[in-house]
């Protein structure tokens, strides 16, 4: 199989796990694989080359800022030079724009939100959940090059194995690619992640019993570095702000871990969180519908369980 390139994203000198995970997956699929590191120091490129594949690197100053369009130029140059047939990305704000721009540039097919990749008769096939994760479709590419954008957090990165080759390359840049410029980058402190961005969500429903018990959810969320969400019923009752409402008429979330505390799991709530990675439900009512779709269902009293859970996790230094 011809060359597969994997876009390895980095930030502040740190390689991004998601893109290393895709790199590992590409290596596992077989064939020739190389990483691509753009706009990074030699050290970063060398670090990327410890994950089992050679790395192409371009450190042109046009690539200094984390903007997509110069990256499209560089990748176009590299695909042309190497004859690569596949370019894979791990989804991020930056990578999505690069992948789509590259698809337009190369006249290539782009499949996105992939949750798996496999070879079928030598052809690459991706899987993508659709219709709110109620269907899984197999997606293919007609001809090459193929571009794939993998859902964030899908593949765990392998451990570094030792150095491989770093191959510097040069690229020309389009005039329009430099017409967007980063003028400032700041890190604004917030009290924790927003529920849309959080990896972990601790959500409370009417089964908490009273508004004050949301403090139990807050303590657990803080321990796990997560955010607190609420059902419509408790938002209606004034227990928690509307901005935290998850469900049909609130926000849709898909964290890696969703801990539902005292939530019955009505469809109106389910449609806002069913694509979460792992769902843990704690509810007194053994017939609550949430137990039909929770990965771990605990029939029990949230008032008893939550403080203990928080304490145990704190002790583990989670």
């Amino acid at each position: 199989m011809a060359l597969t390139l994997v876009f390895v994203e980095h930030h502040d000198g740190e390689l991004q796990k998601g893109s290393l995970g895709v790199l590992g997956k590409a290596i596992a699929l077989g064939g020739e694989v190389a990483g691509v590191v753009l706009g990074a120091s030699q050290e970063v490129a060398a670090a990327a080359a410890t994950y089992g594949a050679a790395v192409y690197a371009c450190d042109d100053t046009a690539l200094a800022a984390p903007l997509p369009q110069p990256r499209v130029d560089a990748l176009e140059a590299l695909v042309t030079e190497t004859g690569a047939e596949t370019v894979l990305f791990a989804a991020s704000v930056l990578a999505a724009d690069v992948a789509a721009g590259l698809a337009a540039r190369l006249g290539a097919g782009l499949n996105w939100d992939l949750t798996d990749l496999r070879l079928e008769g030598g052809d690459l096939v991706g899987t993508r959940p659709a219709l709110g994760d109620t269907v899984v479709v197999d997606v293919a590419w007609k001809g090459t090059p193929r571009i794939g954008l993998v859902r964030a957090g899908t593949f765990e990165p392998a451990e570094p194995t030792g150095g491989a080759e770093v191959r510097p390359f040069a690229s020309a840049f389009q005039d329009f690619s430099s017409q967007a410029q980063l003028i400032e980058r700041t890190h604004e402190e917030s009290s924790g992640p927003s529920i849309e961005d959080a990896d972990v969500i601790v959500a409370g429903g009417r089964g908490l019993g009273r508004a004050e018990n949301f403090s139990l959810c807050e303590a657990l969320a803080k321990t796990l570095g997560g955010a607190v969400a609420a059902t419509r019923a408790v938002v209606d009752a004034g227990w928690y702000p509307y901005s935290a409402q998850v469900g049909q008429t609130g926000k849709s979330v898909s964290p890696r871990l969703y801990i539902a505390c005292g939530i019955s799991g009505a469809i109106q709530h389910k449609v806002g969180m069913q694509s979460s990675g792992t769902i843990v439900a704690i509810n007194k009512d053994p017939n609550a519908p949430i137990f039909d779709f929770a990965d771990l269902g605990v029939v029990g009293d949230v008032e008893q369980i939550l403080p203990k859970l928080t304490e145990l996790l704190q002790a583990r230094g989670a």
Partner: protein
């Protein structure tokens, strides 16, 4: 300033959605509506027009019924609409859709092209980047605050790593996030006036596009199978006997979730 807004007519969020069993395309025969996050892009365009004057044009590629969604944009205050509809364009993927929209936008030559955050029918929230590349225009995506000057736009956005402020020379392509504004309700006068605003309907031939550049023929990806998701392995159920907290911790630890 001339602002174009690319919008999408999507199956109603409440409609029972299904994939066509033979083509695996989303069955779009049911109720449809204007994609919710496109309202933010329309609102932003109208605010730019309020501040700077000019014109707001809404553009879509879709079924004939997409005219209803465009009508809603006109009722909110957009000046005119362009609907590209053609049987040959059905099933267009990112690339094929990009070709069609780029053609319309080349013809319209707006100062600013806006997109909404993502469509609710499962498309990848990446179309703007492909269109910007095809138009050879600078791009800013995920914009939560936007400042427009005569020759440039400056957008602030949140990424995984912080807040970026990016400036781009006009003409440019900007995708806004749904945090940028609160879309207005169409006023009654707006609703009544919408019907008489210019509503252009174009075929692929009108745009001098070959059938090979759109629809299935112009697509470089395909859906080859659809199935219900595999049941999640190992659904665990426990009754609290006083050790539930420990069991939850063990469960999370095993899955590297804590």
């Amino acid at each position: 300033m001339k602002v174009a807004v690319c919008v999408k007519h999507v199956p109603d969020a409440t409609a029972q959605k299904r994939l066509d069993p033979t083509s695996f395309c989303l069955d779009r025969s049911g109720e449809g509506a204007l994609n919710a996050t496109d309202l933010n892009a329309i609102e932003e365009a109208l605010r730019i027009k309020d501040a700077h004057g000019g014109e707001v044009v809404v553009v879509t590629l879709g079924p004939a019924k997409a005219a209803d969604s465009l009508r809603k944009a006109l009722a909110m205050g957009a000046d005119r609409s362009i609907l590209v509809t053609d049987d040959a364009a059905a099933g267009s993927d990112l690339l094929a859709t990009t070709s069609v929209l780029a053609k319309v936008l080349e013809r319209e030559a707006p100062d600013l092209t806006l997109f909404g955050q993502a469509s609710s029918d499962g498309d990848g929230a990446v179309l703007w980047a492909a269109v910007a590349d095809r138009l050879r225009r600078p791009l800013i995506s995920q914009v939560a605050t936007l400042r427009v000057e005569p020759a440039a736009v400056t957008g602030k956005r949140q990424t995984e790593f912080g807040y970026d402020t990016i400036t781009a020379a006009l003409p440019a392509v900007v995708a806004v996030s749904d945090a940028i504004n609160e879309p207005r309700y169409p006023s009654l006068k707006g609703i009544m006036g919408a019907k008489s605003k210019p509503q252009e309907v174009l075929s692929l031939a009108d745009l001098a596009l070959d059938a090979g550049e759109s629809g299935d023929a112009g697509s470089r990806t395909q859906v080859v199978a659809a199935a219900p998701p595999a049941p999640k392995a190992g659904r665990v159920r426990i009754d609290d006997d006083g050790s539930a907290a420990e069991k939850i911790v063990a469960y999370l630890a095993e899955r590297k979730l804590a």
